[in-house]
Symmetry: C2
């Protein structure tokens, strides 16, 4: 019997839901000690835990599964690299599978990984928007960390970029270098990253009692950056700084400003976002921008997963700071070392 016991059997015997049984067995959530005891007792009675682990895995396979919905790999590979650095130190390795954001594929990939004995999962998004948590019947008690796109369940463990902090820092920096007529060119309004960076910017505007010239939402594209910058100068000829919410938008904005005779950074300072090297460091001028610190997110996700495996699970959303990299689009070239690598901006307030 024990080899055919399912989580549902355990839940039934303990008189709890499958989700609660899964959480109790995995120690991944705060549930009452009484419920946890009931579930553990039921599992023991049915021989569930042992049978289940023997059936589907070697104990501590040393493998961690990453499931990504990122198609072009821009987030998934740096995050995988970060996770590997941390996992390697404890003799774990990471396997990545691609779900293209399709829940059915995500579920079937996790089933495969569970059958082949991974110890835990890192779910990697590419939008910054919150996502539904995985079904406990899918994860079958495996610990899960959500990276880049947080889980909607506040008890889950999620690691994200501190986009609010980045937005606040961008405006603080522009004010510090003496800019007073500042606009924001954002991406689409339905991206959490856009909302959060704008929210952070607004906080600094309020703190210093400044009004932004305009905050414009549209697309994550160079074309939008170009069009928006031209529009802004037309309506506000005294504009002296633009905070762009992506490096693509920033490159477009630089192009738009130049097409109407404005110099960057002398007339208008421009900040980007993402520190996507090929865009930001190869631009002309090179772009001041925020680094999303994806490798650090990967390292942190791996560490939190190892902690969960060691019985010390984390809960809630952890924000990783995005350092600001200063390059020529906000400060005229002073020395060549600045050109591509840039320097990290030291915050005055925090």
């Amino acid at each position: 019997m024990s080899s055919k016991t399912t989580l549902a059997d355990v839940a039934r015997l303990a008189n709890v839901s499958v989700a609660t049984a899964s959480k109790a067995l995995n120690h991944t959530d705060r549930i009452s000690a009484r419920t946890q005891r009931a579930v553990l007792k039921a599992a023991e009675q049915l021989g569930y835990d042992k049978a289940n682990r023997t059936e589907r895995s070697r104990e501590h396979s040393g493998l961690i599964g990453l499931i990504t919905s990122d198609y072009n790999g821009r987030f998934a590979l740096p995050l995988l690299t970060g996770a590997e650095i941390t996992l390697g130190a404890s003799n774990h390795a990471a396997l990545l599978m691609s779900s293209h954001g399709r829940p059915a594929l995500e579920k079937s990939h996790i089933d495969r990984l569970a059958v082949h004995g991974v110890d835990g999962l890192i779910v990697v998004g590419d939008t910054t928007n919150s996502r539904p948590p995985l079904d406990p019947q899918t994860t079958m008690g495996l610990p899960v960390i959500y990276a880049y796109d947080p889980s909607r369940d506040p008890n889950d463990c999620s690691i994200i970029c501190d986009n609010i902090g980045a937005g606040a820092q961008a405006i603080e920096y522009l004010l510090n270098i003496g800019r007073r007529y500042i606009a924001v060119i954002a991406g689409p309004e339905d991206f959490q990253a856009a909302k959060d960076r704008v929210l952070g910017a607004q906080r600094t505007f309020i703190l210093y009692d400044f009004q932004p010239i305009a905050i414009l939402f549209d697309a994550w594209s160079e074309e939008w950056g170009e069009r928006a910058a031209q529009l802004l100068v037309e309506q506000h000829p005294h504009l002296d700084a633009i905070y762009c919410l992506s490096d693509e938008i920033a490159r477009g904005a630089v192009r738009g400003l130049r097409s109407i005779g404005k110099r960057v950074p002398q007339d208008v300072a421009v900040i980007g976002h993402d520190n996507w090297f090929i865009f930001a460091a190869n631009a002309h001028p090179t772009l001041t921008t925020f680094d999303n610190n994806i490798t650090i997110i990967g390292k942190t996700a791996a560490q939190f997963l190892l902690d969960a495996l060691a019985g010390r699970p984390h809960h809630g959303v952890t924000s990783i700071e995005c350092p600001m990299i200063v390059r020529e689009s906000t400060e005229p070239r002073r020395h060549t070392a600045l050109e591509s690598t840039g320097r990290v901006y030291e915050r005055k307030t925090s």
Copy 2:
């Protein structure tokens, strides 16, 4: 005894090298029928094949391992996607591990994958340069397909981009649209992709009895494209076309040409390479370029691996055609659909 039998024991009994024993057991290489019989007999005598498979895997786990040395995911993720499309149809799934081009990590990843029962391997490069084949003691008889970077062993199965064909087509197209003073701006001379694209271009120059104005090698960067384009116009004011070996170089070339008053494409037509969407389709003008067809490479690699698993291994290097995508940098805008998606150029000769 059988559970401790190693491939080396089988090789010793059959009086062949470990590499030959591995190839014979896996049917992955052309070796004499006599040798193959000797190895299979030795394996049977020692109970090797069965013991080995039982120990390290379920038979046909349905899992394929991808090992990539690509850090930023630009090649690895689209290739993974292509492989998944093909594998999904036969109920296989793909796991990706990142080796950062470090042979020791590559070996340890393959060991992990073999222990966890993958059926075969796809090794993904990111340079186009040929690479040493994996040690048979590492692959332990698993079939291997090399993608993007070919194996140096001509008996291995490798899938690459047809860079020679792309170079030939670029020049043919420029001649067809009436350009006569054509230069090539290449990347670093030690990249096979640069050598092959230049070789293809030279073949068309010879075929049509034309001399290129110049062929300049240096870096895969916008900065180099800009500098090279300015240099070319300075020395050859009648220049009317540039074939650039990457989209980044092409974007730099467009910038350089504009900075000295040349219009693209009216004065100088510019072609890029890679069809890296964010670069090529967001450029101004949008870039005519070659698509590396990475997803098709992934699909083909997966199909060839499934063929090997079914006892029909492929050998040698298979080149996948890179379609040319025509956009505004070579042909003035005629209709809006051309702007970002472009159209595939139909070859006149082949």
